[in-house]
């Protein structure tokens, strides 16, 4: 599905990449990701032009990404396009973004901290 991208949003690429990655996960991979994350994230992303788009990352039931609202999100995350990109790049973490007001949440806030784990692809281990 290419319609997951929204022009004017830098995070489009990121979300599309996530979608590709998720769609190619094997069942075992999905299960392990879902087990680790176990949440439905609804991202309300606003860009510089004040346009807003909503993406949902379901890491609880289906292990998918799609454009639009979640029927039952565990946490809604409201943030700017740039913030989302920074989160994925590791320039920012969820807590810092939250503390500085760059990220607002509704729902299970602690789940929001797992977002950077979901967004980041491979992470080095200690």
């Amino acid at each position: 599905m290419s319609d997951i991208k929204v022009p004017g949003f830098k995070a489009s690429e990121l979300i599309a990449g996530l979608e590709t990655a998720f769609s190619k996960y094997t069942d075992a991979e999905k299960q392990s990701q879902i087990k680790k994350t176990n949440g439905i994230f609804e991202l309300q992303v606003t860009n510089d032009a004040k346009e807003t788009v909503t993406w949902t990352i379901d890491m609880k039931k289906t292990g998918t990404v799609y454009k639009g609202k979640a029927p039952k999100a565990d946490v809604t995350i409201i943030l700017a396009d740039d913030t989302l990109v920074d989160l994925a790049d590791g320039k920012l973490n969820g807590q810092k973004a939250f503390m500085t007001g760059k990220l607002k949440t509704k729902g299970n806030m602690m789940l929001a901290t797992k977002l950077d784990t979901v967004l980041k692809g491979a992470k080095a281990k200690l």
Binding site: K35, N38, Q95, T117, A124, K125
Partner: protein, 666 residues
């Protein structure tokens, strides 16, 4: 709670009234000459008086009454108690609804309007104003809800006859028509949505009502009264027919999401001119119907009122039912959230279950009397295969050789598993080891390794708990605030992270003051910073620890991953190289090199590193780590080699030769 807040916040605008009045007057004159009389309705001294909006409303109503009493026979004593009773009703009624939704009823609104006009001039302020307005309206909503209840209850004993004295001199037909619209906008307005929408458009309305007010203000002489009535009737009639269009209720869903969306829409729509005129009409109705209603209509009025209030109560019941449903549906039920996922104990430590031993372990030989623990140690010392050492340790445990304090073998097994990029097995073994060490009365062993393992798996709370336990075991003499200990099991990981970091840093500073340095404490601090994505500070800690232990390959790898996750994959490779020179079979470091390559975009090299790590595992035990396969697949997908990715599924466990034939050198 809410009333206190709202009073405070309403005082501010009212105080401002004095200074802004001039502006209002000036602006009013510019646009239309009507504003001044509203202000003069309430005399200057009243403006200066304490600014409870209620008192302003009451003054206003009282003013109205005195106006009506002019029509009445002076000294008709019977009317006064009745009026008072009525006023009490009005008091309750207006207390809740007026200040939030009817500009001009209370002093706060002229102030808001003045700010609004300023905001119009400086457009940047518009948004800020709208926000504030919305907040006020939220409060108004709370207040009005309370008032609504009160009014409803006090309605019951109220008799219709009490309204009688209030009726004189008012054209009854138009008045009657106005009443529904009076009620409905108010009802709609008591929802924040409607208010947000109307709020933006207040200025035009304010001016719209002025003709009336102008007259009433000056209407002291007989002749003026006649003028007033005539003018009033005319205006009332002219507005009568429009009611049908204007008296509409905003449909308000009771789900939070749609409410908020409506709120946003409302704010946006506020700029719409059309709504402005709409609002003006509604406002004019409100203005007109402010006068007391005739007798027989009072009954209907009350009937309608209680009907509406009942409707509201029904809605509240619905809301309760919905909440109940939502609750039963699992919303807010965090236990349910973890049903499919991990289970955690009270301190956030995942309940992983027992360690699963490898079946068909070639080292399992009950007849042998050799010390597998000793052999494993020797193997690890000599840079042997990690998988092989792990098998020896497993066999040692199964044969009851638990080493020092009953925990040594477990801890060593866990650490070996982790080095071999088998986090899950490593965590289980370490959990066992830590428990055995605690049972043995010698806590501390394995705790730091376990905390690091938790960190890798993003079990932040568990990591904090374990670091805390490690700290107490290692520094039994250090005083730890009671609150910090309690926070571990009750507070969120954000809070505990702050507390523990502070505690650890304090000790590190004290040590530094005495020219001491505990590398372990530095590692712990590094892990804490790492958890919080403060990778540069984590690097500093690991570098400090490395100064004391330059041959610790684990530390080099930890430094490397701090660099890698801190977006410095190239520098990370240098640190990994150090680790691998010291320990060529360090699977985790090889894996991390692959990850760094993947992040740089060198997918082919990344795949080769993952493959070499896999072959290292395969050559000894035949079993391979799922994590390595996952990441290998990711590299293939990134290379757009879907065919290879399919082969690299962990459950497939394809022969590594296939990939060698594909041109991967490992």
């Amino acid at each position: 709670m809410a009333p206190v807040v709202s009073r405070e916040s309403q005082e501010a605008p009212d105080v401002r009234v004095l200074s802004e009045r001039k502006e209002i007057e000036a602006k009013g004159e510019e646009q239309e000459q009507g504003v001044v009389p509203i202000q003069s309705l309430i005399s200057g001294s009243e403006c200066a008086a304490p600014s409870n909006p209620l008192s302003q409303v009451l003054k206003h109503t009282e003013g109205d009454r005195s106006l009506q009493q002019l029509h009445q026979l002076p000294g008709s004593s019977s009317s006064i108690p009745a009026n008072e009773q009525d006023l009490a009703l009005a008091r309750q009624f207006f207390e809740g609804s007026s200040h939030g939704l009817v500009p001009g009823f209370s002093m706060q609104h002229p102030a808001d309007l003045a700010r609004m006009s300023e905001a119009n001039a400086r457009s940047g302020m518009g948004q800020a104003w709208a926000m504030e307005q919305q907040q006020q309206q939220m409060r108004a909503f709370e207040d009005s809800a309370k008032a609504a209840w009160a009014t409803e209850f006090s309605n019951a004993p109220q008799t219709n006859s009490s309204a009688a004295p209030l009726q004189q001199g008012i054209p009854s037909r138009p008045e009657y028509q106005q009443r529904p619209s009076y009620m409905q906008p108010m009802y709609g307005n008591s929802m924040p949505v409607g208010l947000g929408m109307y709020g933006m458009n207040s200025p035009p309305m304010q001016y719209g009502l002025n003709p009336n007010m102008n007259v009433s203000d000056q209407g002291k002489g007989k002749a003026r009264e006649v003028d007033f009535e005539a003018a009033f009737a005319q205006i009332a009639e002219s507005f009568g027919p429009k009611e049908a269009q204007t008296s509409r209720i905003e449909e308000v869903d009771d789900t939070v999401a749609s409410l908020e969306e409506a709120l946003k829409n409302a704010t946006l729509n506020g700029e719409n001119e059309e709504l402005g005129t709409d609002f003006q009409k509604v406002w004019d109705h409100l203005q007109n119907s402010e006068l007391p209603p005739p007798k027989e209509d009072m009954a209907k009025w009350e009937a309608e009122f209680s009907q509406l209030m009942n409707a509201q109560r029904d809605e509240l019941e619905d809301y309760g039912a919905n909440m109940q449903k939502a609750w039963e549906g699992g919303l807010g039920n965090f236990e349910d959230t973890f049903d499919q996922g991990m289970k955690f104990d009270g301190e956030g430590i995942p309940l992983l279950g027992d360690y699963t031993f490898e079946p068909n372990n070639k080292y399992l030989d009950p007849s042998s009397s050799r010390s597998l623990l000793g052999e494993a140690k020797a193997l690890l010392e000599n840079n042997g295969s990690l998988s092989e050492a792990a098998l020896m340790l497993e066999a040692a445990i199964q044969q009851g050789e638990l080493g020092e304090g009953g925990y040594e073998t477990w801890v060593l097994l866990g650490e070996t598993r982790n080095m071999d990029e088998r986090e899950d097995a490593g965590m289980r073994a370490l959990l066992q080891g830590v428990r055995k060490a605690e049972e043995n009365g010698t806590p501390g062993a394995g705790m730091l390794s376990l905390a690091i393992s938790f960190t890798n798996e993003s079990y932040d709370r568990a990591s904090h708990t374990m670091l805390m336990r490690w700290f107490r075991a290692r520094y039994p003499d250090v005083q730890i605030p009671e609150e910090t200990i309690r926070a571990i099991s009750t507070n969120s990981s954000w809070d505990t992270h702050g507390r523990i970091t502070e505690l650890f840093l304090d000790l590190a500073r004290t040590q530094h003051g005495k020219d001491q340095m505990d590398p372990e404490l530095q590692i712990a601090l590094g892990v804490l910073f790492y958890t919080n994505a403060e990778y540069e500070r984590a690097q500093d800690c690991f570098v400090a620890a490395l100064n004391a232990r330059p041959k610790d390959y684990l530390l080099w790898n930890r430094l490397g991953s701090s660099l890698s996750n801190g977006n410095k994959p190239e520098e990370a490779l240098g640190a990994y190289r150090e680790a691998l020179q010291l320990r060529p079979t360090y699977t985790r470091a090889i894996y991390n090199v692959g990850v760094a390559c993947l992040n740089i975009g060198a997918d082919h090299e990344a795949a080769e590193h993952f493959l070499s790590a896999l072959s290292l595992q395969e050559s000894t035990s035949g079993d391979t780590s799922d994590q390595l396969w996952f990441t290998l697949r990711r590299a293939f997908l990134s290379m757009k080699r879907n065919d290879l990715a399919d082969l690299a599924k962990p459950e497939a466990k394809s022969s590594l030769d296939i990939f060698r034939r594909e041109g991967f050198d490992f």
